[in-house]
């Protein structure tokens, strides 16, 4: 092998080395960055899934309407249930001067939530009393009601016996 041929081979090798150095980053991209790319893509896909999940949740949350009002209503209901006791019932009838109620008597059946009460009232007062009572104690169950004219004042007053169940 003469001197010229060796020189030619050396030049070609040098050029090829330079080309390899130039191409090296591209090879690095292919071999090192591509696996990273797969990882990054999975992070992006995960984000997309989460965003989709969030949107679905948002839709579901929005499907519940008037929640603050319902919350308030629930509190009112709870208070109403808690306030429906024999004492409050007696207080409601006795302390209100607008009802002309006489002989208001209450009996609570032992070990039960059943309460019986009887009263004598004028016809108009009775209707008003019962309406107000039912509106005030909304969870009070009325089992039975018996109304009879007061024998002493049959045209004015009525004797009423009511059996209720407290909540």
């Amino acid at each position: 092998m003469n001197f010229n041929t060796r020189a030619q081979i050396a030049a070609i090798l040098g050029i090829l080395l330079l080309a390899a150095v130039t191409v090296a980053p591209w090879v690095a991209v292919s071999h090192w960055l591509k696996p990273q790319e797969a990882k990054w893509r999975s992070i992006i896909t995960h984000k997309d899934d989460l965003v989709r999940q969030m949107l679905a949740l948002d839709k579901e949350v929005s499907s519940y309407q008037n929640i603050p009002e319902k919350k308030e209503a629930n509190i009112t209901f709870q208070k109403n249930i808690a306030a429906t006791t024999l004492d409050s019932l007696q207080g409601f009838v006795n302390s209100n001067p607008k009802y002309q109620v006489f002989n208001f008597k209450t009996i609570q059946v032992p070990d039960s939530k059943e309460v019986k009460f009887s009263l004598v009232a004028s016809y108009n007062s009775l209707g008003q009393l019962l309406t107000d009572m039912w509106n005030t104690f909304q969870f009070m169950e009325i089992n039975s009601m018996i109304m009879q004219p007061n024998p002493n004042k049959p045209d004015e007053e009525v004797i009423t016996s009511v059996s209720i169940r407290l909540p």
Partner: protein
């Protein structure tokens, strides 16, 4: 006389200029270099494009990480809100159902006067409520010649199941009072069912 001759120093060129070109590349290599040059430029172009794409993807990934953190926080908040909403709604539905199940006799009490005509007089009214059914019993003092009112309509939200006439019980009659000689006591019994 000896002629003086000055000797000039002899310069020995240790590395003489080559007489011919050392590297003689063949003619075709010119095209090879050009091709290599084009290939290198193309490679650089591709590398640049690839790098831009990678950079964009990296940026997207960084943003996705931030979004993921925020979204996870949002999802947690929403889930707790959803649980809260469900619980409020369930309680509300239960209360409303309970409220609906508790029947108020207002509609029946308003309806009872329609059972009694002007010539009749109601004495004892008994109302029994059991679940969605109600039983109404009205003791009426009425002229012997007059039949009881024919019941064809039920109160609002109720269905008329049966209606009839019965002999009143002793405790349903007015205490210490006797009926007019032309009158009699009878009991109107009606069974109703809540719709």
């Amino acid at each position: 006389m000896k002629a003086f001759t000055k000797k000039l120093p002899v310069i020995i060129d240790l590395q003489p200029e080559p007489q011919e070109v050392m590297l003689r590349l063949p003619e075709w290599m010119k095209y090879f270099f050009v091709l290599l040059y084009i290939a290198t430029l193309t490679g650089l172009g591709l590398l640049l494009r690839e790098s831009i794409d990678e950079f964009k993807l990296y940026n997207e990934m960084v943003q996705a990480r931030r979004t993921t953190e925020n979204t996870v926080r949002e999802i947690n908040t929403m889930q707790s809100k959803l649980v809260d909403n469900k619980s409020v709604q369930r309680d509300y539905d239960l209360y409303k159902m309970r409220q609906k199940q508790i029947t108020r006799p207002g509609a029946i009490l308003e309806w009872i006067p329609t059972l009694i005509s002007k010539t009749q007089r109601a004495n004892t009214i008994t109302l029994l409520q059991l679940g969605d059914s109600a039983s109404v019993r009205v003791t009426v003092e009425k002229p012997i010649t007059e039949p009881v009112v024919r019941i064809s309509t039920a109160p609002a939200d109720y269905l008329l199941q049966s209606a009839g006439e019965e002999t009143p019980k002793y405790n349903e009659l007015p205490r210490g009072q006797k009926a007019n000689i032309n009158n009699e006591f009878t009991a109107v019994v009606v069974q109703l069912k809540k719709q």
